[in-house]
Symmetry: C3
Subunit: 342 residues, 3 copies
């Protein structure tokens, strides 16, 4: 009975190692429709082929976060099956849109290792790339996780902590080829606010909330072929199935439409923390803060650096207590770049 | 924090005003499949491309009610965000089938206004049109809602109550171009009953029932990009998330297959009342009454005017108590025209 | 009120009778995506068009079990509406892959009848065929059910118990035209184990488990247009909605990925028993036993005969108690043939 994958342990990783993750996936209009059923997603570029063509794209792409989830889901059996904690993200970039019919696969390179002083766990840094059927990288990001050792006697690897940018510069961001907001329809997009209208430091309460059900987060997580037990098996976690962190990211992003309807494309992920676990029955509410803004160099296309915070039940606009710890109601603290018509 | 849409209040509407609703939506095979997962829909014309071609259409259209929900969902942020009640529908017409790949948008014209005597609310009548990517109207209907005033001192508008037909005449109905029932396959459609077999006044108990779950109605309502809080946010409505009225319409229509399998296309909506709110855990059962029948002028295509009643748990075939009020178990009272082979 | 289908009773069947089942169904990328949301399906051939092309197929087919459910669902109103029990399956064969765009219909021939000694029920054997839009048989299987009599005085038919194979021979199996595993990618498929690596008698514990929700099994069952009341109507079964047996088959097959990732295509169904009913809230876990292995005659393509057992909560590797009865935690005992690269 040894044909199943036990997952990798800390001692199984070495710097420079490249892991080719199974299983490739063709994404279609079906995944696109499901994304709209699972999340209150209304950004027009991802809702209408006509709107997308009017913005210079061949058709409406798959939601940037759906593409991210597909790429991420593949890494779970190789990276986080024996993970104790998902510690962070950095240097995430969307390098080109994913369209229905594209087939994605993922690979990760180990770029850092650090055994913990307890000798029982260690931190693994990987740079993951999602590639399409033409071997073009469509997404890349760094993620680090704490992983158990299986053999406590295995020698500690040489410590290598990669240097990662706190935030991508606007020059690191890729504006999709052909993107053109000169005919952008602010009536059909749902809001009149251009890039000009947003100021660094501005806060936006997105008002809407969604109470999450077990069936929904499991449908979503399976759709991305992320099959980690903790999300599905109540006998494994009798205190409650943990909801996949990506579910709250997508829910939060979709809920941010109301106030950020023109923050159309996600092109950079600077960092993110799943501040507290969340469970079915919790109600997700969302606020945003404008962290920075920049011109992209492409005429008419601005970039907004946004903090996206999901809370349980809509707590006040604070993240941390006086000790610097996340408040118990904070679920997600995400830092990303989006493109917006100037 | 003022970038979110507060919705319109009664004093914000004026007769003749045209509202262009966001967000356009491309409908695909994905939405089609989801419709079949969400509702026990079995009408053959909407299930099989082969069956549809055999009836003169290029392929199987998107369910008429799915198209309606897409058009309707867009109007919510502009029409019913501050609505106290959805009062009625009239003069609904399906003007051409919607196919996978079509992109729909919606616009509404204010056709009536009447401030209530309390000075705090008023009734707004709108005629909504759904248009496709070729700017062809695919659906139109009148809807009226009671909306709150924000500024009680705002002057009352001149009262205009539009004259609306109690029921569409058969001459108002459009038979889709090319529709031809001469090769209609009564074995594959599931029932042998033609238009001839139905008599005005006839009642049909559709037998089947479905107990509704929270996850299902939220998936459905989101799919139509209807994001009204009352359907999703339990902290906003601790007594229970209200199920979108369109969910019971689609459930009821699908459940009416058993006895009306050949009532293939919905072409007219004469009126409809959401008689009582309903909630997850309720079991929907359905009965129909034949209100009228007419020939359409297209050879072989008859029209049946049907009352479709959804009840909680399958109450007897009555609608109202002695005071004329809907019985507490009645959820939906819908009056529509469908096309059927003669 | 007699327009609804009361279903067939035992006395309504006669040997040789052919039943043409409604409603035909076009299967698309939408159904494909939903299958991946409903089940943790990861077999690469059904996940990636690129992987499928690399195996000689034109694109990724619809999951074999999804095709089975579509064919099966159509038979319910004609075969099992008044069934007391679903007794067994035999001689199931997948004769060609189903692709997005294909339209399926079903027909069944009555091949056996046996009235029970109580005079109130009888057993009906049917051979069901699923056909595509080119009238090619894509699936066939034998199923037998115990059906109520409506008229106890109706004479018993002549008893005919068909001879059915306990198991299909490898020669009965059809390898899809063009299937070629010579470029099979064992990295992208998720496991390195070839046909060679499996031995008759070997047991595999698939480790993963899923706790099932009401919304999920109803979405799935409706998607296949199986509308049997017991699955949907809590007022009809206040003790709990029975989950469609096919839901546990698909869940079990998907969960068997971990350890059988290269058992790509299901081509034969030798038999199957739904050992105990199951309900939302139950957690499905799965184990497999290799019953037999054979070469198919097609170069590089081996066949594995597998027993797939789903249990509630992951009971030990036993099926039956000392009286030969299924243990109470056993949900499914399925015997099938799958194709695997040699």
């Amino acid at each position: 009975m040894a044909k199943t994958n036990p997952g990798r342990f800390f001692e199984d990783y070495s710097v420079g190692q490249v892991l080719h993750h199974a299983v490739p996936r063709t994404i279609t209009d079906g995944e696109r429709a499901l994304y709209h059923a699972l999340y209150p997603a209304r950004h027009a570029l991802y809702s209408s082929d006509e709107f997308a063509r009017n913005c210079g794209l061949p058709q409406s792409p798959i939601d940037d976060l759906a593409a991210f989830h597909v790429v991420f889901g593949k890494t779970v059996p190789d990276i986080s099956l024996n993970a104790v904690a998902n510690l962070g993200y950095a240097e995430g970039r969307w390098l080109q849109p994913v369209y229905p019919g594209d087939t994605l696969r993922s690979e990760s390179e180990v770029i850092g290792l650090k055994q913990n002083s307890n000798g029982k766990t260690g931190v693994v840094w990987v740079r993951t790339r999602g590639l399409n059927q033409r071997d073009e990288v469509v997404i890349e990001y760094v993620r680090w996780v704490m992983v158990r050792k299986s053999d406590f006697d295995a020698p500690a690897p040489e410590t290598l902590v990669p240097e990662l940018k706190k935030s991508l510069d606007v020059g690191d961001l890729l504006v999709p080829q052909g993107l053109d907001f000169s005919n952008y329809d602010f009536v059909q997009s749902g809001e009149a606010h251009r890039w000009d209208a947003y100021n660094t430091g501005e806060m936006i309460d997105h008002v809407d909330g969604v109470t999450v059900e077990e069936a929904e987060h499991m449908l979503a997580t399976r759709l991305w072929q992320n099959t980690a037990k903790v999300h599905f098996d109540l006998t494994f976690r009798p205190e409650g199935r943990l909801i996949y962190g990506g579910h709250v990211i997508s829910m939060a992003r979709a809920l941010s439409f109301n106030g950020l309807a023109n923050a159309q494309m996600i092109v950079g992920l600077n960092g993110g923390a799943h501040a507290n676990p969340y469970f079915a029955g919790d109600t997700i509410k969302v606020w945003s803060e404008v962290l920075d803004k920049a011109e992209t160099g492409v005429s008419g296309v601005g970039a907004l650096r946004l903090r996206l915070v999901a809370t349980k039940g809509g707590e006040p606009f604070e993240l941390r207590n006086e000790d610097g710890k996340y408040l118990p109601n904070v679920l997600l603290d995400l830092d990303y770049w989006a493109l917006m018509p100037i």
